[in-house]
C-alpha cells in the first residue's frame, strides 16, 4: 500500500434498498478496479450471499479500499464504506455516512425509491454528502429510468440530470460511476497536521485478536504501536495491528487523515469501542471528540426464558458472548413466577430482537420462550417521580400513578396509489395520527403518520406488506413521548395471572384486545384433560373470557402398514410441539402463546 495524498482519496458509501443491487454493484467495483480478481470475486460473492442468508444483515462487507486509475491519468484511492440496511441500525448508518464525503444512491430503474432508501438519503444529506444518483438494472425490460429520475427529483429534491445509468449485473456504467466518484465526491479535508481524531464506524469481536475496529481518520495520523484513547469510553490501548481493507485485511504501518482502516488493540468487547466513538492519541489527545456519538438505546424489550430451566446458565453465557459483538444488546436477569428464571433484554428494534433470538437458538442451541415485545413507558407517579417501565407486569397500579406516556414514532411509507386507502386504515387502527401525504410520479404516494411505537412493534410491518401486496415500504423514527389513557391488561389462565402475557393497551382498545387475545390463546393452548378458563382483566374487572374444553380423546383410529410412516410423523410433530411447552401452573402453554398479542 503506497502512501496517497489526501487530495486523491475519495470516501463514499452506497445507499440502496434491499434487492436494488447494492452487493452486485460493490462486487463489480472491486472487480473493475482490480481490487479483487474475477476468480476471487465469484467465491467472495457466493460466500457473502451464504453468510447473509445465514445471519441476516449482521454480516456485511464493512469497507473496501480500491485503487483506481482515472481518465485524468491520476491514481486515486477509493474507500467504499458499507452501511447496514435496516431502520433498527440507523445510528450505525449515520456514523458510516459521517465517515464519507459522498454516496451513491442506487435505485432500481424498474422500481423506484423506497422508504428506507429515502431515510438514508436524508441522513446522507444531513452529513453534507455529495450524492450521485445511479439508476441500476437499466438492462431490464421493465426499466423506466426517466420515471425513476423524476421520482428521485420529486421526493429527494436531487438533480438527476447527471444520474448514471448502470447495470451492475451486466457491467454497464461501472466506469461512469467510478469517474463520477472521482470528480463529484470531494476529497477529505487535509488535516494531516492536526491531532489525531478517527471515527469508529464499525467493529466486531474476533476471539483471537480482540475487537477489530473499523475507522476513518478524520484528522492527524495514526501509527502501529501508538497508544490511543477512546474519547467516549475513556479507555486506552496500544495498537497491535493497523491495516486497510482491500477488502481483506492488509497490515500497514501508518494511516493519515482521509484514510479508512482497521485496528486491533486487545480490546475485550465491542462496548469498549463503540460505533461513533473518537480515537485519539494518549500522548497528544485532541481537545474535543468528533460530533454525533450516542449510546445505543434499546427501544424494544422482551423476556427471554429457557424452556428448560437447566439452560439458564447457558443462556447467560450465550448473551455474554453475543454482547461482546453487539453493544446495543442489553440484558438483565428477570424472575417470573410463571416462567422461572430468564432475562429481560433490550433491543434497537424488532429486527434486532429477531436476529438475537435466532442466533441464541441456532448458534447456541437454546430452546427459548420469548415474551411479546414491549416498548419503554414513562410513568409519572403521584409523588411526581418519573420511572421508565419496559415490562408491563411492573406497571404501578392506577392509584399510584399520575400519568403514563408512551413513545411515538413517525412512520413514513411509500406506496403505489391504490393501497393508500388500506394503509391509512391500517395506520388509523393503530392509533396513528395523519401527518402528510404527497403524490409522486406515476401513481406513487408518500404517507406519513405519527403512531405509538407499541402499535408499530406488533405486526405493523407485516400488515403493511400484505395490504400492499409487498409494494409499500416504510421507515420510522422516534419523535418523543406522549401521554395517553393507557391501562394494563392482565391475562389469567386457569385462574392464575400470567405476568408474561400482561400488556399495556389504550383504554379504548382494551376490550377488543382482551377479547381477541383470549380467543387467540384458545386456539394456541392445547387441550388438557380439564376445562381451562381464559380471562382478560383490567385490575379486578374481567373484560373477556373464554375456555378451552377438556380433551376427550386423542387416538389414531387406524394404523396399518402403509400408514405407519405417516402416523409416526404426526406423533413426532406432536412430540416436538410438546418440547416447546411451558408449564404455567397445571397448564402447558406453547411458545407462540407468549407472542399471541402480536398476531391479533
Amino acid at each position: 500500500m503506497t502512501d496517497v495524498p489526501v487530495s486523491r482519496i475519495r470516501n463514499f458509501s452506497i445507499i440502496a434498498h434491499i434487492d436494488h443491487g447494492k452487493s452486485t454493484l460493490a462486487d463489480r467495483l472491486l472487480q473493475v478496479t482490480g481490487t479483487v480478481s474475477a476468480r476471487e470475486m465469484k467465491e467472495q460473492f457466493l460466500d457473502n450471499m451464504e453468510l447473509e442468508r445465514e445471519r441476516g444483515i449482521t454480516i456485511k462487507l464493512q469497507a473496501a479500499r480500491m485503487t483506481y486509475k482515472a481518465q485524468d491519468g491520476q491514481t486515486y484511492v477509493l474507500n467504499l464504506i458499507d452501511t447496514p440496511g435496516h431502520v433498527d441500525f440507523s445510528y450505525e448508518v449515520s456514523r458510516s455516512l459521517a465517515a464519507c464525503e459522498g454516496a451513491l444512491l442506487v435505485v432500481d430503474a424498474s422500481q423506484g425509491v423506497e422508504a428506507q432508501t429515502l431515510a438514508n438519503v436524508y441522513l446522507a444529506l444531513e452529513n453534507n454528502l455529495e450524492i450521485i444518483p445511479v439508476l441500476n438494472k437499466i438492462d431490464l425490460p421493465g426499466a423506466e429510468p426517466d420515471r425513476v429520475k423524476q421520482e428521485i427529483e420529486e421526493i429527494v429534491g436531487l438533480d438527476c440530470s447527471g444520474a448514471v445509468l448502470a447495470s451492475a449485473k451486466e457491467g454497464i456504467g461501472i466506469t461512469d460511476i467510478l469517474e463520477s466518484i472521482v470528480y463529484l465526491v470531494p476529497p477529505p479535508s487535509d488535516t494531516v497536521k492536526e491531532r489525531l481524531r478517527a471515527l469508529i464506524f464499525d467493529s466486531y469481536y474476533d476471539p483471537y485478536r480482540g475487537v477489530i475496529v473499523y475507522f476513518r481518520v478524520m484528522d492527524g495520523t495514526v501509527k502501529k504501536g501508538d497508544r490511543v484513547r477512546l474519547m467516549a469510553s475513556g479507555k486506552e490501548y496500544e495498537i497491535d495491528e493497523l491495516g486497510v481493507l482491500s477488502p481483506n485485511q492488509i497490515q500497514v504501518e501508518e494511516l493519515h487523515a482521509g484514510e479508512v482502516g482497521y485496528l486491533a488493540a486487545a480490546i475485550k468487547a465491542v462496548e469498549d469501542a463503540r460505533v461513533g466513538d473518537t480515537i485519539t492519541l494518549s500522548t497528544a489527545p485532541a481537545s474535543i471528540p468528533l460530533p454525533g456519538y450516542t449510546e445505543a438505546k434499546p427501544m424494544v424489550f422482551c423476556g427471554l426464558f429457557p424452556t428448560d430451566a437447566d439452560q439458564f446458565e447457558d443462556l447467560r453465557e450465550a448473551l455474554e458472548k453475543l454482547r461482546l459483538n453487539d453493544a446495543a444488546l442489553q440484558y438483565e436477569p428477570e424472575t417470573s413466577s410463571a416462567m422461572g428464571f430468564g432475562f429481560r433484554c433490550g433491543f434497537l428494534g424488532l429486527l434486532h430482537m429477531e436476529i438475537v433470538q435466532e442466533r441464541l437458538e441456532r448458534e447456541y442451541d437454546l430452546d427459548l420462550i420469548t415474551t411479546a415485545p414491549s416498548v419503554v413507558y414513562k410513568v409519572t407517579k403521584l409523588d411526581e417521580e418519573e420511572i421508565y417501565i419496559d415490562n408491563p407486569s411492573l406497571l404501578p397500579d392506577p392509584q399510584y400513578r399520575e400519568k403514563i406516556e408512551e413513545p411515538y414514532v413517525q412512520v413514513d411509507m411509500i406506496t403505489p396509489e391504490e393501497y393508500v386507502g388500506t394503509l391509512m386504515e391500517l395506520s388509523q387502527s393503530r392509533r396513528g395520527m395523519f401527518k402528510d401525504m404527497k403524490y409522486l410520479a406515476q401513481g406513487r404516494t408518500t404517507l406519513s403518520y405519527e403512531i405509538p411505537l407499541a402499535e408499530v412493534v406488533t405486526d405493523f410491518f407485516d400488515q403493511m406488506k400484505s395490504r400492499s401486496r409487498g409494494y409499500a415500504s416504510m421507515e420510522y423514527h422516534l419523535i418523543g413521548y406522549r401521554e395517553n389513557p393507557l391501562v394494563k391488561l392482565d391475562i389469567l389462565i386457569n385462574g392464575d395471572r400470567v405476568d408474561p402475557l400482561a400488556t399495556i393497551v389504550h383504554r379504548d382498545k382494551a376490550y377488543y384486545v382482551g377479547k381477541a387475545l383470549v380467543e387467540k390463546l384458545k386456539e394456541l393452548i392445547p387441550r388438557h384433560q380439564f376445562k381451562i378458563p381464559l380471562q382478560a382483566s383490567i385490575g379486578s374487572r374481567i373484560v373477556a373470557s373464554e375456555h378451552i374444553p377438556a380433551l376427550r380423546k386423542d387416538v389414531l383410529a387406524k394404523c396399518y402398514g402403509g400408514d405407519i410412516s405417516r402416523k409416526k410423523k404426526l406423533l413426532q410433530k406432536q412430540a416436538k410441539g410438546k418440547k416447546r411447552l411451558k408449564a404455567i401452573g397445571t397448564v402447558d402453554v406453547p411458545q407462540e402463546a407468549f407472542m399471541a398479542v402480536l398476531k391479533l
Binding site: 380433551l551 386423542d554 387416538v555 383410529a557 394404523c559 402398514g561 402403509g562 410412516s565 412430540a575
Partner: protein, 436 residues
C-alpha cells in the same frame, strides 16, 4: 388353480409364538388394489375412481388420460411380485386391501395369488384376506374368490343407516349389506369381518348403538371399529370441522368408543387392538404383523413394505409406480432404502405394540434395545399409570416405578381399555419426546 384348500384354517397368533429371531424376511404380503367406484368423502387413499360401469378392457380404452385398465395394473403388479427377491420363507398371510379389491375379476385375483405362490410359496394354512364392498360382487364371484384361496373377507359396512351411508359418499345401501352377508354365508366363508365407522356426520349415540347391535346380529368373527379421522384434503376436510356439527362432538365420539368397547366385549368380542375386535381365535393375523412391528412385503401402487429393516412406500401415482416397477426389474429386485435406525425401530415398536391390548413384552424390549431403555420407558410412563392409562400386566400389577423388579417372561406394558386407548397419543407423544 392348484392351491391347497385353506378356508378352514385360521387361528390367532399368540404373543408367545412371535418369532423372536425374525430376520426381517417377511411371511406377510399386502397387495394394494387402488380402484373404487367412487371416492368416499372421508377417504384420502391413493385410488382411481372407475365409476359404476365395469372398467373397460385394454382394447376398448383409448383415452390416454384415463387411469388405464385394471387388467394393465394387475400385470404390472405381477411383474413387481416376480421381480421381488424371495427370502426363502413361505407366506403365512396375504391381504388384499384397497381401494376395492372386489373390483378385481376372479381371474385377476387368481393371477395375483398364483404369482405370489410361485415367487414365495403360500403356506397351506395361510390367512388370505380380502376387503370387499357391499354391492360390488355376486354369489358366483364370491365362490370364485373362495376357490382361488381367499379364506377371510372384510366387508366395508361402515354404517347401517341409509342416510349415514349417503352422507359419507358410500355407494351401498343397508339392503346391500344384508345381501352381501347372505352371500358370505352361502359360500360358507366362516371367517368374516365387518368395518364400522363412528363419528360420522349426523351420527348420534343411538344410531351408533343400533349399528353395533345390527353388526353383532350378523355374527361376524371380527369387527373393525374406527373413529372417523377427518384427513387433510378429503371432502370432509373441506366441508366440516372436527367436533362441530354435523360431526358429533369429541365428547360424543369418545362415548361411542366406550360404548363399542362395552357392547362388543359383552357380546364376546375380544378388544385386541385400539380399533379391532375378534371372537376367540379370529384375530387378523396379517394386521398383527404390523402391530408387532414384523416385516411384510407390499405390492402395488402406494403400497408400503418393511423388508430386512427397510421401510419403503411405492409411488402414489400410477405412471410413476409403473415406471418404478420397470426400474425394479432392471435393478434385479433391489430396493434402495435406508435401514431403520435403532431409535426409530424402538419408536415403531412402542407406537405399534401399544395398540395391542396385550401391549409390549418388556423382556423382548430389553433384549432388543437394552435394559436402560425399558427403565426410561417405565419412568416416563409413571404419571400415566397413576392416571390409569397404562398398566403392567405381570408381576401382579407391579408398580411401574419398581424398577428393580425383575422383568419376567410375560411381563408386559399395555394401555388400559378403553381409557388408555382413548388417550394413546398422549402416552405415545411422551415416549417420542423421551427418545427423540
Amino acid at each position: 388353480m392348484s392351491l391347497p384348500d385353506r378356508s378352514s384354517l385360521s387361528f390367532s397368533l399368540d404373543a408367545s409364538d412371535v418369532d423372536v429371531a425374525d430376520l426381517g424376511i417377511p411371511t406377510a404380503v399386502y397387495v394394494h388394489i387402488p380402484f373404487c367406484r367412487r371416492r368416499c368423502f372421508y377417504c384420502d387413499f391413493p385410488i382411481a375412481v372407475v365409476g359404476d360401469r365395469p372398467p373397460l378392457s385394454r382394447q376398448e380404452n383409448t383415452d390416454p388420460r384415463s387411469f388405464g385398465t385394471i387388467e394393465e395394473y394387475v400385470e404390472i403388479l405381477c411383474q413387481e411380485i416376480r421381480a421381488t427377491l424371495s427370502g426363502g420363507r413361505s407366506l403365512d398371510t396375504v391381504f388384499f386391501g384397497g381401494g376395492t379389491p372386489s373390483l378385481l375379476t376372479v381371474e385377476q385375483l387368481e393371477q395375483i395369488l398364483i404369482t405370489l405362490d410361485r415367487q414365495f410359496s403360500i403356506s397351506a394354512n395361510a390367512e388370505i384376506s380380502m376387503e370387499i364392498d357391499p354391492a360390488t360382487f355376486d354369489l358366483t364371484y364370491l365362490q370364485g374368490c373362495k376357490a382361488a384361496g381367499v379364506n377371510r373377507v372384510s366387508l366395508g359396512v361402515q354404517a347401517f343407516q341409509a342416510e349415514l351411508l349417503a352422507a359419507c359418499g358410500r355407494t351401498h345401501t343397508p339392503d346391500d349389506i344384508y345381501a352381501a352377508i347372505d352371500m358370505i354365508h352361502q359360500v360358507n366363508l366362516a371367517n368374516f369381518s365387518l368395518d364400522l365407522i363412528s363419528g360420522l356426520p349426523h351420527q348420534t349415540g343411538e344410531r351408533w348403538q343400533d349399528s353395533l347391535q345390527k353388526a353383532i346380529a350378523l355374527a361376524p368373527t371380527h369387527l373393525s371399529v374406527y373413529d372417523l379421522t377427518v384427513e387433510p384434503g378429503t371432502a370432509f376436510d373441506r366441508w366440516y370441522q372436527p367436533g362441530l356439527a354435523p360431526l358429533p362432538s369429541d365428547e360424543t365420539t369418545a362415548q361411542m368408543y366406550r360404548l363399542a368397547q362395552q357392547i362388543l366385549t359383552e357380546a364376546n368380542y375380544d378388544h385386541y387392538e385400539v380399533s379391532n375386535y375378534a371372537k376367540s381365535g379370529y384375530q387378523c393375523r396379517h394386521n398383527r404383523v404390523y402391530w408387532e412391528n414384523r416385516s411384510y412385503y407390499g405390492f402395488g401402487m402406494a403400497a408400503a413394505s418393511y423388508v430386512t429393516g427397510q421401510r419403503f412406500s411405492r409411488p402414489r401415482k400410477r405412471r410413476e409406480y409403473f415406471q418404478w416397477v420397470q426400474e425394479l426389474v432392471c435393478r434385479g429386485g433391489a430396493i434402495d432404502s435406508p435401514i431403520t435406525p435403532p431409535t426409530e425401530m424402538l419408536l415403531d415398536t412402542l407406537m405399534l405394540g401399544l395398540r395391542l391390548a396385550e401391549g409390549i413384552s418388556l423382556r423382548d424390549l430389553a433384549e432388543k434395545f437394552g435394559a436402560s431403555v425399558v427403565e426410561q420407558v417405565l419412568i416416563c410412563l409413571q404419571p400415566y399409570q397413576m392416571q390409569g392409562w397404562v398398566e403392567r400386566s405381570k408381576a401382579t400389577r407391579q408398580a411401574l416405578n419398581r424398577l428393580d423388579a425383575k422383568i419376567e417372561r410375560g411381563d408386559r406394558l399395555r394401555l388400559t381399555d378403553p381409557e388408555g386407548f382413548l388417550f394413546s397419543n398422549v402416552v405415545l407423544t411422551t415416549l417420542f419426546e423421551q427418545f427423540t
